[in-house]
């Protein structure tokens, strides 16, 4: 432990603590902009400077570690003056189009100006000029960048994708892709984690709001919207609610006021995904048990960012990925087939919008393999942040709305579906469904042996032995099913490399691109802290336990759908609408 004095107060903190952390532990909040707890420590913004007695220059408190007997002052005249100066310097090379910037009033740079009491911008020097790079998912406007490098850290160190890096030097420094290539031509997975950490409006989702308003104001169009639980437990943060407040009911009322004609629950399609994916897994297991060749392990396909990752880095292994479409695309395909037929709607006038915690889905819906009858399964994807902006624009008071139910037929969902947005959720739902299909018994969870894979955060594997299966599944008697779960691309790389080498011991692998799963997706409200993430998770677990139906295969909406339309899992019609062949984008 180290003893030091901060603002005339004696404090004691563990070794290797930074001054900023030490102050925080003692209820002193030193202003900081580039530092992001647990994620990024770089010392570029110089707003967290403090005075240390005996040291000539001011120290960046996010980088400088405490020493025994250190005397620190965080709020002297000198410190305040330098912080303001440094802030004004940041501002001098920042495109100050705040009133027309999407992140206006949700901007850490703006907030910092208010906090530091900056009332003037004295420096108007040369400014760097960059072109705006618009990809289907992410838009980068480096004229607003303040070079904090948070995006570089999440892209390289956390996600291990590495398409962003600092280029050039000195005044010309710019955060860029290799050789200034457009984002849609490099190996970006569109996970959008950079859009969550960007403190300003330099990296954001590519805006779809305009297109959706246009569809809504078109009287001939029937606009279908769907959303998932990861959205409804997070959107409250945009409206000043306590993080983790579940707002699905209010959100349904809200979307209805905005003019959406049908409001569906993507969670219903999660259940459908589980049933289809379980069947696919059993089919592949049956083929291999009979001594024939099938691609195993089966790898989940619900994460659009992960599919792009495999396409970029492992194009030869795309056949291992499940052919099931992601849940919102399944729902879109059904909304544009079964539902339009049932409601006597005009197919070409049906417009499907997905509200997702995700930026990668904006790209996914443009894939030619995500179409049926020449029409895209989903027409537009809005992130949680975008739909919040639309609600504000429409002037709807979320707090005073009554709760409302999702529309039939995609209204109900199982408890398992609530956990789709959390790493391990798909695995849990699929394993229990497979076990029940095969044995006719419920899966006792104490039968699972869960072990973390050493060296990888959020990567673990499990084993499940099948005993006394039903007649039709005798081929699985005594077989131990091995599965692995990971989120973030570090673990994904490890598991995919095993597949490449032919050394994968698994039958089934779940991968979520964003660390922790969709609940921490690239389209979620910002800024994000670990506490906020924890509260979102708790909300999802709470909702999951509160459901009348716990298992996907018990969801009556899904059984009715098979009875009325799809016949059975993996039927030709199900294959046409709910499955696809993953291909590398040319």
């Amino acid at each position: 432990m180290i003893n030091l004095t901060i603002n005339n107060k004696s404090v004691c903190v563990p070794d290797s603590t930074t001054i900023l952390e030490a102050a925080k532990q003692n209820n002193i909040d030193i202003p900081h902009l580039c530092y992001l707890e647990g994620v990024h420590k770089f010392g570029s913004c110089r707003l967290c400077v403090v005075e240390v007695e005996g040291v000539k220059n001011l120290q960046a408190s996010c980088m400088a570690e405490v020493r025994e007997g250190m005397v620190v002052h965080t709020n002297t005249e000198k410190v305040r003056k330098v912080r303001k100066n440094n802030y004004e310097l940041l501002l001098s090379n920042h495109l100050q189009d705040c009133p027309s910037c999407e992140t206006n009033k949700n901007c850490e740079l703006q907030d910092m100006g208010v906090r530091l009491g900056v009332t003037e911008a004295r420096f108007a020097g040369k400014t760097t000029v960059s072109k705006v790079d618009i990809s289907p998912s992410i838009t980068r406007d480096m004229n607003k960048c303040i070079l904090c490098r948070r995006c570089v850290t999440v892209c390289n160190d956390i996600q291990n994708v590495g398409v962003l890096s600092a280029h050039n030097r000195g005044f010309s420094t710019v955060i860029n892709t290799a050789m200034d290539l457009p984002l849609n031509t490099v190996d970006c997975t569109y996970c959008g984690q950079c859009t969550v950490v960007c403190p300003v409006g330099a990296i954001k989702e590519t805006d779809e709001i305009h297109n959706v308003w246009q569809a809504l104001s078109d009287k001939n169009k029937r606009v279908v919207v769907q959303l998932s639980s990861a959205v409804s437990v997070a959107i409250g943060e945009e409206f000043g609610y306590e993080p983790g407040t579940p707002l699905a009911g209010e959100l349904v009322s809200c979307l209805r006021e905005m003019g959406f004609d049908d409001i569906f629950n993507t969670n219903a399609a999660f259940d459908l995904t589980v049933v289809e994916q379980s069947t696919e897994l059993l089919n592949r297991l049956k083929t291999t048990q009979a001594g024939n060749e099938a691609k195993l392990p089966l790898v989940t396909s619900c994460c659009s960012s992960f599919i792009k990752y495999v396409e970029n880095k492992y194009p030869e292994e795309l056949d291992y990925i499940s052919t099931t479409k992601s849940p919102d695309l399944m729902l879109g395909a059904l909304a544009k087939s079964h539902y339009t037929e049932k409601m006597n709607m005009n197919l070409s006038e049906t417009y499907v919008v997905s509200v997702m915690p995700c930026t990668a889905k904006k790209f996914e819906i443009t894939r030619p393999e995500m179409q049926n009858n020449g029409l895209p399964n989903v027409d537009a994807v809005l992130t949680t942040r975008e739909v919040a902006r639309m609600i504000k624009e429409a002037g709807i008071d979320l707090r005073n709305l009554s709760k409302n139910q999702f529309d039939q037929p995609f209204s109900l969902s199982s408890g398992a579906a609530e956990l789709f947005g959390v790493t391990g959720g798909v695995m849990q739902a699929t394993l229990s469904t497979v076990y029940e299909m095969v044995t006719g018994r419920e899966l006792p969870f104490n039968k699972l042996q869960v072990t973390s894979i050493a060296g990888f955060d959020q990567t673990m594997d499990m084993e499940l032995k099948i005993e006394n299966p039903l007649e039709a599944y005798q081929y699985l008697d005594g077989v131990t099913i091995k599965v692995a779960v990971t989120s973030g691309f570090r673990g994904a790389e490890f598991l995919m490399n095993q597949i490449v080498k032919g050394e994968s011991p698994y039958h089934f692998i779940e991968v979520m691109g964003c660390p922790g799963g969709c609940v921490n997706g690239g389209g979620q409200p910002r800024p994000l802290t670990l506490e906020i993430l924890q509260k979102r998770l708790e909300a999802l677990y709470g909702q999951s336990e509160g459901k009348a139906t716990s298992k996907p295969n018990d969801n009556e909406v899904i059984s009715a759908l098979y009875k009325e339309y799809l016949q059975e899992p993996y039927s030709p019609r199900a294959q046409e609408l709910l499955h696809t062949q993953h291909r590398k984008t040319v």
Partner: protein
């Protein structure tokens, strides 16, 4: 280029692209597992290939198991690395203090005019690359410039075309 893909047919000593890439691959293999060796590899690769175009950057990134953006970030940070092909001859006009006040800038302006390139660029026929230098240690000869290893002293802008005609 009058070279075949695999073997140079023109009788010159020039290596083909494939031979150059093979040489670079050997260097990568040598340095691959040494931390912090990217800069050495880039230096060697530029010496062999002449410059570092995107395709070569991809090759090095894949070989060194590093993200392409990191490789290109390092290349753009250091002014020694070039992503554009260099000309047969490099002209470096001295812009140190002495040469500057004696009219170095006028030399640059005139050369930009004659060669129709900006500083740092290469002429279309790949004959000249125009660069500036920060003091070549010939202040008494100001304004000075170098073409490859030859120093020209007290250069008169009007004489530039005559000097270039020698190459």
């Amino acid at each position: 280029m009058n070279c075949e893909a695999t073997k140079c047919q023109c009788g010159c000593d020039q290596e083909t692209d494939q031979q150059k890439y093979e040489k670079i691959a050997e260097i990568i293999a040598k340095y691959k597992n040494q931390a912090g060796s990217l800069i050495q590899v880039l230096h060697a690769a530029q010496n062999i290939y002449g410059y570092l175009p995107l395709e070569l950057q991809r090759f090095i990134a894949a070989g060194m198991d590093k993200p392409l953006a990191e490789v290109s970030g390092v290349i753009t940070f250091y002014s020694f690395f070039s992503t554009q092909p260099k000309g047969k001859h490099t002209i470096r006009v001295c812009m140190g203090t002495a040469c500057y006040v004696r009219g170095g800038k006028k030399l640059v302006d005139r050369l930009e005019d004659i060669l129709k390139v900006q500083v740092g660029e290469t002429t279309e026929d790949r004959k000249y690359t125009l660069d500036i230098a920060r003091c070549i240690g010939a202040c008494g000869l100001a304004p000075a410039m170098m073409i490859d290893d030859v120093v020209y002293k007290q250069v008169n802008p009007d004489k530039l075309e005559t000097i270039l005609a020698k190459y």
